[in-house]
């Protein structure tokens, strides 16, 4: 069953204008051989909004997020990010678009041969976004302060705990001041306390910088604390969509399975 609410705007019925869509996923399909991972999946992300895609492990959440960022090409359907169709962009245009879209990997993907400071400087220098060493220092310091790890600039990723690595990965994403952040399982593998800290940090980033976020997760606490809206990914489709409470209170067995 495909819920009628899927991909529909969630703003209230009041007279306010509809919020701007910064990311749209329209009827996207993706298969690997006979394994149909995404089937007719649709979703809209609005400016300043946090949307969580909730699904079981192996349900295609990471495939979806990799299609959005252009690491995988969908077999069918259309993905637009900040008004640009990802599939039709040249390499240069895609690289330019990626400066506005942060991606927090599940494994953090910090460059382990570089210090924390060098990790943060890498995307900055690739796009010539800092014009002087002083400006670089200021941006690195600001990004590290945002995640509460200002003292770690000289450390290597191997010297950090799991939660610290996650924060540094987020700082590396934030340093480019993206409009959209894609979080791939941001709390997986973390203890409950650290996971809650990361959840609060996600909210804080949203409040401070007004970023939109698409969060892939199967962690209900993460969903509850970070989501303005939740989309249930079941059998490759957007099964249902709504606030955490709306989906939790749905009587159907599929939704109940997630929130039980």
């Amino acid at each position: 069953m495909l819920s009628e609410t899927c991909s529909a705007p969630v703003h209230s019925a009041a007279a306010s204008p509809p919020p701007e869509a910064v990311l749209t996923v329209v009827h996207v399909e993706k298969s690997f051989g006979d394994n149909h991972v995404l089937r007719d999946f649709s979703l809209v992300l609005h400016r300043g909004e946090n949307v969580v895609v909730l699904g079981k492990s192996g349900s295609g959440k990471s495939v979806l997020i990799k299609c959005i960022i252009g690491l995988l090409l969908p077999d069918a359907g259309r993905i637009t990010v900040l008004g640009q169709d990802v599939a039709t962009l040249s390499h240069a245009a895609l690289d330019q678009l990626r400066t506005k879209v942060g991606f927090l990997f599940q494994s953090n993907a910090l460059y382990d041969s570089m210090t924390v400071r060098e990790n943060l400087l890498f995307p900055l220098r690739r796009h010539w976004l800092a014009h002087s060493p002083a400006e670089e220092d200021q941006l690195v310091r600001q990004a590290l302060e945002d995640v509460g790890l200002a003292h770690t600039a000289g450390l290597l990723p191997a010297e950090l705990s799991g939660g610290m690595r996650k924060r540094i990965a987020l700082a590396r994403t934030l340093i480019l001041r993206p409009d959209i952040i894609l979080y791939d399982e941001p709390t997986t593998g973390l203890d409950p306390v650290t996971a809650r800290e990361i959840d609060h940090l996600i909210r804080e980033v949203q409040r401070k910088y007004g970023t939109s976020a698409l969060i892939i997760s199967h962690d209900l606490n993460c969903v509850r604390l970070t989501a303005d809206r939740v989309a249930l990914l079941v059998d490759g489709r957007c099964y249902a969509e709504g606030t955490y409470e709306q989906l939790r209170d749905r009587p159907d067995p599929v939704s109940h399975e997630f929130f039980a």
């Binding site: 879209v101 991606f103 993907a109 890498f122």
Partner: protein
């Protein structure tokens, strides 16, 4: 997934090489990373290559001497050692040392970056990982191996000079004259040209194995291991081809 056949692997490697030639001419040029890789491949390999070359020159001279004395051809030792080192032993030993040290290092490094999503991370941060990681490393090995070989040849010949003087007396001037008198310019150019090819093969195979590593940490180990094995084998095959080409062109 079944193991790819040798033909399929060769095809994939050729495709990888084609991508290298396409990417190497396109901007943006990663000069800083390339210089760093030249430092890693060239300067950091110098102690290993230098000590190997020294031992090779010394041992070759000491082992050759009794036979040459037996035939009353003691004065030919510098010429024989010089030609052997400059034409064959210098390039081959240096290439094998670099294959063992650098190719495995590249295979493990890129393999580890692949399985921990660092290569994907580079791509989503707007960096072409092929250009940044592969092109710089292949260019570095291609350009540094000839330099290392020339240094290794010089060290090896000096070790040979010491070897000759351990059981006899000769001057450095006479030793050098004996070598240079029998050496053609084509001996040096042929040796240098083939070291470019060795360096290219070592870098390319190391990068290919690492760039397409999978299966987690096991895959990283396999990438490092097969990078050494395949690049060492490639060095011998290329050397055989070089010998044939030299014979056809009448160089040797």
């Amino acid at each position: 997934m079944p193991h790819p056949t040798i033909l399929a692997s060769t095809g994939a490697l050729t495709h990888f090489a084609g991508r290298f030639f396409r990417e190497v001419v396109r901007p943006r040029y990663e000069v800083q990373e390339w210089l760093y890789q030249c430092y890693v491949v060239g300067y950091q390999s110098l102690p290993l290559v230098g000590s190997t070359a020294f031992i090779m020159g010394l041992v070759l001279t000491l082992r050759l001497r009794p036979t040459m004395v037996q035939f009353g051809a003691e004065s030919w030792i510098p010429t024989m050692v010089g030609l052997t080192i400059i034409r064959e032993m210098g390039p081959i030993i240096t290439a094998l040392m670099v294959a063992g040290k650098v190719s495995s290092n590249i295979g493990a490094e890129l393999g580890s970056m692949r399985v921990t999503e660092q290569i994907d991370s580079m791509e989503v941060s707007g960096t072409n990982p092929f250009k940044y990681l592969v092109v710089t490393r292949v260019l570095a090995t291609t350009l540094m191996l000839p330099v290392l070989t020339i240094v290794a040849d010089a060290i090896s010949l000096y070790a040979s000079y010491l070897g000759v003087n351990m059981q006899g007396v000769t001057t450095l001037a006479l030793f050098s004259h004996n070598i240079l008198g029998r050496l053609n310019f084509s001996d040096i150019t042929a040796a240098v040209v083939k070291t470019f090819c060795f360096g290219f093969a070592i870098g390319l195979i190391g990068c290919y194995k690492g760039y397409y590593a999978d299966k987690g940490t096991e895959g990283v180990g396999q990438a490092a291991n097969s990078a050494v094995v395949v690049s060492s084998l490639a060095v011998f095959i290329l050397d055989l081809l070089a010998v044939q080409v030299c014979l056809v062109l009448g160089i040797a």
